[in-house]
């Protein structure tokens, strides 16, 4: 059994870390470099930049859908989760949603670390069985004629959704479009809406 008392876990991690540092296996600075990056620099704005580029540039969109790792590398994005990235496009008829049923595989390099709910047993089991109902719980009610496709991420393929560009955004610049793209829209538990409409 895994003890889940936070005080116990904090103490246990403190002990692990102090031993690792003492043995010279990892340094405090190396740990902080990672946590700082994920808390400050690596987040959904990267995926949003990719989505916005694909909205404004059809050639880029084609490259993104056929070879996502190479396409995101064009925007300087690489690293954990980018090398096995697969981008699935939403259309008027198909809505995609991403899960990892085994653990919590997620395109870290594009979206940062997953939200808490993405890692829960409830989401991981239920979205596969009752996707339409789960999306409704996220406030997303799709017309019945829209097919929902659920993508199970793994170490071989980490999925990201390319949401549909909202209507009435023709006049917006690429970076204004990027600012509309939410994390949930790229997981597929949301869609991108036009704030002006």
């Amino acid at each position: 059994m895994t003890p889940t008392d936070p005080t116990y876990l904090a103490l246990r991690m403190k002990a692990v870390e102090s031993l690792l540092i003492e043995k010279g296996i990892v340094s405090s600075e190396a740990i902080e470099a990672i946590t700082d990056a994920y808390e400050r620099d690596i987040g959904p704005m990267r995926g949003a930049a990719v989505v916005a580029r694909a909205w404004v540039d059809d050639d880029y969109k084609r490259r993104l859908l056929s070879d996502a790792p190479a396409a995101v590398a064009e925007l300087g994005i690489g690293g954990f989760g980018a090398e096995t990235l697969v981008v699935v496009p939403n259309t008027a008829r198909i809505h995609n949603v991403v899960v990892c049923t085994l653990c919590s595989c997620y395109p870290w390099a594009l979206l940062g670390l997953p939200p808490r709910w993405y890692k829960t047993p409830e989401y991981r089991a239920r979205v596969v069985r009752w996707p339409r109902r789960v999306l409704t719980e996220f406030g997303l009610t799709l017309p019945n004629d829209v097919e929902i496709r659920v993508w199970d991420s793994s170490s071989e393929a980490r999925y990201m959704v390319r949401p549909q560009r909202p209507a009435g955004t023709d006049g917006l610049a690429e970076r204004e479009l990027a600012a509309l793209v939410t994390r949930d829209a790229m997981i597929g538990t949301g869609v991108v809406s036009n704030p002006a409409s």
């Binding site: 895994t2 889940t4 936070p6 876990l9 904090a10 103490l11 991690m13 403190k14 002990a15 692990v16 870390e17 102090s18 031993l19 690792l20 043995k23 296996i25 990892v26 190396a30 740990i31 902080e32 470099a33 990672i34 946590t35 994920y38 808390e39 400050r40 987040g43 959904p44 704005m45 995926g47 949003a48 916005a52 580029r53 064009e74 925007l75 300087g76 994005i77 954990f80 085994l102 653990c103 919590s104 595989c105 940062g112 670390l113 939200p115 808490r116 829960t120 047993p121 409830e122 089991a125 170490s155 970076r175 204004e176 990027a178 600012a179 509309l180 793209v181 939410t182 994390r183 949930d184």
Partner: protein, 118 residues
């Protein structure tokens, strides 16, 4: 700086700007961020392949889910992460649980001692 870098670094106020701007902090507690950072830092340094960590994490989560009713029992993702990390370190002969528990006792004792003098 290229236009692309500008887009990536770009608008800090949009809904996608930072993980925490989606209404949720990345980590619930500091120890979770240390456990995450340590596991990734060691993978980066080549201490092990991150895939090994992932496989153990899957095992830990699976074991928990086979023996717990997920809807009404406490779930801690990072508790499984930490257990997987310790198993991985033990497998590579870098750390064993007896050492960890001894260090926990030492830290706890030290903290109590500090408290007495506070």
């Amino acid at each position: 700086m290229s236009a692309d870098a500008d887009i990536l670094g770009g608008d800090a106020t949009g809904p996608a700007a930072l993980p925490r701007r989606n209404g949720e902090l990345v980590f619930d507690a500091p120890w979770e961020s240390r456990a995450f950072g340590a596991a990734v830092a060691m993978a980066r340094a080549g201490v092990y392949a991150f895939e090994e960590m992932r496989e153990l994490l899957i095992e830990e989560i699976d074991q928990w889910e086979c023996t717990h009713n997920s809807t009404n029992e406490a779930w801690s993702y990072y508790a499984h992460w930490l257990t997987a990390l310790e198993r991985l370190l033990a497998r590579h002969n870098l750390l064993d649980s007896a050492e960890v528990e001894e260090r926990m006792r030492a830290i706890a004792l030290h903290q109590d001692h500090e408290h007495d003098h506070a």
